[in-house]
């Protein structure tokens, strides 16, 4: 919270600096020429090219004129020319862009490509080129800058209006039969005004720099008139003798160039477009605080995790998203973890796999992968341990594969590093694995990039990839959620096949029917906790927790009465802010009593391999109504 406040503070102060700067600049532009234009032009022939003195605050130039007064007086010329050119460029450009939306499709295309060409040339070159045509001088420079700026505004107006035009309410007013011009003026322009104003503000800063540059080169304001750019050029000639004459106008240009940017930020903040902060509170407790228990003999468990807690940074300190998660896996098991989104099932799996976000904090009473606690290893050995014992399959195969790397290279890099296979051996293995997951023409596919594969094929390639290092355990995190239902079956079949080949599989899903199809054991999670664990075959008959029952009821089956609305679980899962001392499911639970909201029920063993955390578990004898018949 503290950090957030600080951030917002910086933003407001930026805006304040910008506004204050703008006021000072404008006042100077108005007042300075009235007060000092005389003093700025009077030569003091006794004091040529002098440094700072009481008489001349910033010294004098080659003709003995006072630098300070000249810089102050020049504010008006520099600012007014910049404003004039930026605003006329913006107005001209917007008109151009807005008018182009009234053109036919072909003409619009031509217009866009001409704009693209125009925009691809350096602004400064355009400005110089135009000032040659318009004529060298202050007026010419303004026209040139305005013309050079117009296309970017035209492009902006075009993009913005076309994005607005395609919105629903424009179609609505179009249906009402309004004319195009009226739509443009009444409905399109107001919606694009804000980004345009913002860009005009930035353009003022840009115009100031261009005009100063032109004057600096001698192509802008001509003597006897003067602006900052010209003063800078004159000062540069005598920079050895009196550097202040060059530095003072330079500083003025920088300041006046930055002020519009700050003002733009202020405007943007007013418009409520806040940048998404990339930094969040990250107060990680020292690693030493993490309790590392003595290594215990863990028998033949592939994975043994007890009392796992995961906390991630939230607005006010750390929020625990996983509490007391346990998972013990033996060889050849297939276990499902089920829960609504936000129940902590993915986070638990990521923490188990050591892939939690870098700011997350993890504690556990027991944490062993293949008999070793990876947290006690150095990074290299820990990576090797994980690579050989655990493979991962993620939800969206499109985004989970590197778009720039050939499929074969992505498959084989793991074994090349962790099993020291040669390039060709790794390639052969990759081809075999692809064939194993029934990808046709596997050899040929190795050279292709992910986008050349279909969605189902990509996920099969992911499965092949997770099998490359021959791990004993695979964690599949919602492996079919992003896929078509038809492909879902194939993927589940492949996972089941891998399991019958002796690989332990942890399947994470929000879909309990999917898990009951293939898994032997089911872990039900709610609000970061395990609420029930039992054998899959018992779920339909012996599930004790009301939440598990509710999950089952929300699955339609062949026997579901289609006349009735599909059962849903009332309410929403708790968010991190809904802290409660009691059972987190209580607010949504039909069996909840007073005690449920006061104390959290412990996870208690109710039978062999069955645990439940509930004060009022559903009696086993009751057959759940509407439960899937299987």
């Amino acid at each position: 919270m503290r950090i957030r406040m600080r951030h917002r503070g910086t933003r407001t102060s930026t805006a304040m600096i910008g506004l204050a700067g703008a006021v000072v600049l404008l006042l100077t532009a108005v007042i300075a020429p009235l007060l000092w234009s005389g003093r700025a032009t009077v030569p003091d022939t006794d004091h040529l090219l002098e440094g700072m003195s009481a008489r001349h605050l910033l010294g004098t130039d080659g003709l003995g004129r006072d630098v300070f007064y000249r810089v102050m007086v020049a504010t008006r010329t520099s600012l007014s020319l910049a404003l004039l050119s930026a605003v006329s460029g913006a107005v001209g450009g917007v008109l151009l862009g807005a008018l182009s939306t009234l053109l036919g499709r072909r003409a619009q295309r031509l217009f866009s490509s001409l704009l693209a060409i125009w925009l691809s040339f350096p602004d400064l070159l355009l400005v110089m080129f135009l000032s040659v045509i318009v004529g060298v001088g202050g007026g010419g420079a303004v026209v040139a800058v305005a013309i050079a700026f117009a296309p970017s505004f035209a492009r902006l107006a075009q993009t913005l209006s076309s994005s607005v035009v395609t919105r629903d309410y424009i179609s609505a007013v179009r249906l009402m039969g309004l004319s195009r011009t009226r739509i443009l003026v009444r409905h399109v322009l107001p919606n694009v005004a804000e980004p345009l104003i913002l860009n005009t503000t930035f353009a003022i800063g840009g115009a100031l720099l261009f005009l100063s540059g032109l004057s600096f080169l001698g192509l802008g304001v001509q003597p006897p008139a003067y602006d900052w750019g010209q003063l800078l050029a004159q000062g540069l000639d005598s920079i050895y003798v009196s550097p202040l004459a060059a530095l003072a106008p330079g500083v003025a240009i920088v300041v006046a160039g930055v002020v519009p940017i700050f003002c733009g930020e202020a405007l943007a903040a007013l418009a409520g477009r806040r940048h998404v902060s990339t930094r969040k509170a990250a107060r990680s407790t020292a690693a030493s605080e993490v309790q590392c228990p003595e290594l215990t003999a863990v028998g033949n468990h592939l994975l043994d995790v007890e009392g796992l807690r995961v906390a991630v940074p939230a607005d006010d300190g750390m929020a625990e998203v996983v509490r007391n998660f346990d998972l013990r896996l033996s060889k050849g098991e297939m276990v499902g973890v089920v829960g609504e989104s936000g129940s902590g099932k993915s986070m638990s799996a990521m923490a188990v796999a050591g892939l939690q976000p870098p700011t997350a904090e993890i504690r556990a009473k027991t944490f062993s992968v293949g008999g070793t606690d990876p947290r006690r290893l150095r990074p290299g050995p820990a990576r090797r341990l994980y690579a050989r014992s655990l493979g991962m399959i993620f939800q969206d195969p499109m985004s989970s594969l590197n778009p720039l790397m050939a499929v074969g290279a992505q498959l084989s890099e793991g074994v090349r590093i962790h099993r020291s296979l040669s390039r060709s051996a790794a390639r052969q293995l990759a081809a075999r694995r692809l064939a194993q997951v029934r990808i046709p023409h596997a050899e040929q596919r190795l050279g292709e990039r992910p986008h050349q594969l279909s969605g189902g094929m990509r996920q099969r390639a992911m499965i092949a990839m997770s099998l490359m290092c021959e791990p004993d355990l695979i964690i599949a995190d919602e492996p079919t959620t992003a896929l078509d239902v038809t492909i879902q079956r194939e993927i589940m079949k492949l996972l089941a096949d891998a399991n019958s080949d002796g690989v332990t599989v942890v399947l994470i899903s929000h879909d309990i029917s999917l898990i009951l199809d293939v898994c032997e054991r089911v872990v039900v999670m709610y609000a970061g906790r395990i609420v029930e664990e039992l054998a899959a075959r018992d779920v339909t008959t012996a599930a004790r927790h009301p939440y598990t029952r509710a999950l089952l009821r929300s699955v339609p089956t062949m026997t579901t009465d289609r006349q009735l609305p599909l059962a849903t679980i009332p309410g929403r899962p708790p968010t991190r802010n809904d802290e409660t001392a009691g059972c987190p499911f209580a607010p949504r639970c039909e069996r909840a009593s007073e005690s449920c909201t006061e104390t959290m029920p412990p996870l208690e063993r109710t039978g062999p391999g069955a645990r439940v955390a509930c004060w009022h578990p559903v009696p086993t004898t009751t057959s759940a109504r509407g439960v899937m018949a299987r």
């Binding site: 910086t10 490509s113 001409l114 693209a116 060409i117 691809s120 040339f121 350096p122 602004d123 400064l124 070159l125 110089m128 080129f129 040659v132 045509i133 060298v136 720099l209 540059g213 080169l217 001698g218 192509l219 540069l236 920079i239 050895y240 550097p243 060059a246 530095l247 330079g250 240009i253 920088v254 160039g257 940017i261 990339t278 930094r279 969040k280 990250a282 892939l355 976000p357 870098p358 700011t359 990576r383 090797r384 690579a387 991962m392 993620f394 985004s399 989970s400 594969l401 590197n402 778009p403 720039l404 790397m405 890099e413 793991g414 590093i417 962790h418 990039r449 986008h451 050349q452 990839m465």
Partner: protein, 336 residues
């Protein structure tokens, strides 16, 4: 939503003739070539028209004040200015294709040889500046992104944003003046102007690259943060690759594709910036020559230089586009 999009795309591309499938590469090449031709045509037209639009009569101003009408007519004929405008344009394009860019009215030297003399110094500092920008911005941006990822080391954020923002806000020619003041006038370490040896390259290159490095470093950081959050990076981590391999093999190429687009767009700005920076350092390049020619109303030289710089910009843009299309198979650039 997705299905309507696909449908839209299908109808847009239109029915394909049976037996003939348009290779995306062919269409891409054809489009780019077409655009290059149109852009070059526009450039030629503009530079041609420039000579006719400039105030004053180039023929009169090239002759002594009391020149006879006869002499003026002869000169006009000699320059081909008595022909119709379209005919003159055809002459102009023909001349350009044959490498004839006219002669300087001020010095009588051929524009071709002026440009040939002045181009190398400009290309040198522009190229060196571009490399400097990449060498500074890429490692800095990536390092800061990795270090500050998901809220770690938040104290690094403000200094980075401030420094890059500050450096990026100083226009190149002002930065150049500041550099001259510090390193040439005050410290007397480096020459104040001219092209007199290796030391004289330092300040122009720093002046050209400092601001753009700041800009690019910020962009690189944002792009890196985006890539670091991608699912395929999580996949790479799940393969337990070394840190160097994870970032080098999986993150870097993806960062580079997006950064390449942006740095490509920076090139025109760099070319524009050289004009001003050259003027500060009296660098004997195209920029100073262009400014002198404009001031001397030596429009043949202006025309030649504008044409050349324009073509350089067009070619760099093309090279960047092609490079992008080659690197990134999914790049939308190929369909534009």
């Amino acid at each position: 939503m997705a299905s309507t999009e696909t449908a839209g795309r299908l109808t847009q591309s239109g029915p394909l003739r049976p037996g003939w499938v348009a290779s995306p590469w062919l269409t891409f090449a054809a489009r780019r070539l077409g655009r290059l031709v149109v852009a070059t045509g526009t450039l030629l037209t503009l530079t041609f028209l420039m000579l006719h639009l400039v105030p004053g009569d180039p023929v009169r101003s090239s002759l002594p004040p009391g020149a006879s009408a006869e002499l003026i007519r002869a000169k006009r004929h000699e320059l081909g200015l008595d022909k119709s405008l379209p005919a003159q344009f055809v002459d102009y394009v023909g001349d350009v294709l044959h490498g004839r860019f006219g002669t300087s009215i001020a010095t009588g030297e051929s524009v071709g040889s002026i440009v040939a003399n002045r181009l190398p110094p400009t290309v040198q500092i522009a190229t060196l500046a571009f490399l400097t920008i990449l060498v500074i911005a890429l490692p800095t941006g990536i390092a800061v992104a990795v270090l500050t990822r998901s809220g770690r080391r938040w104290w690094l954020d403000a200094p980075f944003t401030f420094v890059t923002g500050f450096v990026g806000a100083i226009p190149q020619f002002l930065g150049a003046v500041g550099l001259v003041f510090v390193f040439s006038v005050t410290l007397k370490w480096l020459p104040v102007a001219g092209r007199t040896g290796v030391a004289s390259y330092i300040l122009p290159i720093v002046a050209l690259s400092a601001g753009l490095s700041g800009h690019l470093a910020r962009i690189v950081r944002v792009e890196t943060l985006v890539v670091l959050e991608k699912d395929y990076l999580r996949t790479a981590r799940s393969k337990r690759l070394s840190v160097i391999r994870t970032y080098g093999r999986h993150a870097l190429p993806n960062i580079l594709t997006s950064v390449l687009t942006i740095s490509g767009m920076m090139l025109p700005g760099l070319i524009g910036g050289t004009v001003l920076v050259e003027s500060v350092f009296a660098w004997p390049g195209l920029g100073t020559t262009l400014v002198q020619a404009i001031l001397a109303q030596d429009y043949q030289v202006v025309q030649g230089i504008v044409l050349l710089l324009g073509i350089i910009v067009l070619v760099t843009n093309l090279v960047v586009d092609v490079a992008l299309a080659l690197i990134d198979p999914q790049s939308s650039i190929r369909s534009t």
